[in-house]
Symmetry: C2
Subunit: 331 residues, 2 copies
Amino acid sequence: MKRGQKKTDRAPYVIGMDLGGTKILAAVVDGDGRIKAEAKLKTRAGEGPGAVVQRMEEAARQAAQQARVKWSAVKGVGIGVPGPVDPEAGIVHHTPNLQGWEDVPLGPQLSKALGVPVYLENDVNLGTLGEHALGAGRGTRDMVGIFVGTGVGGGLILDGQLRQGFRQAAAEVGHMIVMAGGPVCGCGQRGCLEALASRTAMERDIRIGLAAGRESLIPKLAGKGPNSLTSGVLAKALRRKDPLVTEVVGRAQWYLGLMTGSIVNMIDPEMVVFGGGVVEALGDSFVAPIRVTARQHFIQRTGVESVRIVASQLGDHAAVLGAAVLVRQQT
Amino acid sequence: MKRGQKKTDRAPYVIGMDLGGTKILAAVVDGDGRIKAEAKLKTRAGEGPGAVVQRMEEAARQAAQQARVKWSAVKGVGIGVPGPVDPEAGIVHHTPNLQGWEDVPLGPQLSKALGVPVYLENDVNLGTLGEHALGAGRGTRDMVGIFVGTGVGGGLILDGQLRQGFRQAAAEVGHMIVMAGGPVCGCGQRGCLEALASRTAMERDIRIGLAAGRESLIPKLAGKGPNSLTSGVLAKALRRKDPLVTEVVGRAQWYLGLMTGSIVNMIDPEMVVFGGGVVEALGDSFVAPIRVTARQHFIQRTGVESVRIVASQLGDHAAVLGAAVLVRQQT
């Protein structure tokens, strides 16, 4: 501990990064978990892993420049990756959103380029770690993070530590089954939470409604493309009380509530934190009905209110802040 | 450790008890986790908690006599209770199978009667603890126990320790939802695993089939009463390839497999152990299809075979042995 402290004094900054399908986010984070400055670059995944790793280096150096932090004051870089990783070896196994990424040694490559240690972790695990250390979950011992966006991901904090699991595969909340025989999921199975409550699932159900002639503001609010039905568009439609969107989002909230109830019945944590693009756009009004449904399903009726079910406090920065926490834990 | 060891030498025996809706089981267990002798008495829950506590005392003393163990050589008693307990205060909150049990101070009462420390825990938690310490789960770090009988219960071992949870309510596997909108459960909610895969659920579905005129051996094999469709009867019907029973049990196995997949996707343990009356009667042939379905649903495809999904090794004695382990851990 003391040795670590000394090091911190000399190199008090870490860089947290979030490697997304469309953008790379890099943030310089100080010893108090505050973001000093950040840089954003397009991922351009189509150019292949090599080019993306170069742009990640660029984003990290740009963020340091923005923060007026000398590179020698950066003690390490943490990266949230949208898929399974081998944290020990620094390898990205594969990512559904970055085509061509198969067992890429991102950690060693970026560490060589930047001259500092680089640590990887799944982005939702880091989002959970960030919320636990610096956000909604501060001070809790056991916490579950559920992130609702294009997919549904999760993270699990037990005894204050991120749980990796026996095969580094814990907290895959999106692929827990909430409706046996339900709709086919991107993973190929049926009835996963992700197939019922992700933004993708909501978009599917809204388009089914539109195709059947349901009235809705969506054709006016959203463009025509396959990714035009963003979380922001959903938020606008809800504010205007669009009946189709209200119905579809309400159903997703019901399934999220059922699963939250199931997870609480299994893990019995102190807190469940909801984050991700949908939650960021819709805020606590998205979480409130989930809370009601979840609590209805707690089998232990003692202390129902004591289990907090809340929205993320770090929003879009949960993963970069979690990445910064990861670096501090490792060095 | 050394102090504990010394104590063990002087009083090397503990008594593990299982308080069931129909019978009280007491077993004298030595320092190696071996059962020296046991005693069984009827619960006669209708006579009220006071009479049941007296019979528990009798069962404990009978077991010691059977084992030719002086009472002074008994260092403590552990009890598995079919419902939620307060382990610290030794209170049984309530049990669905023992009418009139509301906040009964079983621990203090029995401790006073027997003159030794008494420890309580939920019976499925103790079954899981027993399998982990002395049965199928020996040597695992993280293990889930799932017990299929009249209901479906569970237990969770993380980092080698029984997980109690924030509200002492962890591992309520039977009330995780596997089919949103599914059949009504005893708990009042819909689609819980218990409503789809307990012996009670199987009995319901078999009776629905019979009422609709389905051919089956069940009317010959089982009596007419509400509890006549025992696990033993199910086993007999399966051995004779009864089509209705085969279909209904197969469906229960499917749901158990889905939930096991979900639990592995969340917890990522090394092992899932199946126990309880149904598993005891049907053995590994009951677990094999569950294993296949569960593995199909693992989202992490690396190391699928490394997650062991197995039948209990301790059978009916899982809870009493777990109760003995509990006493050794506490004293």
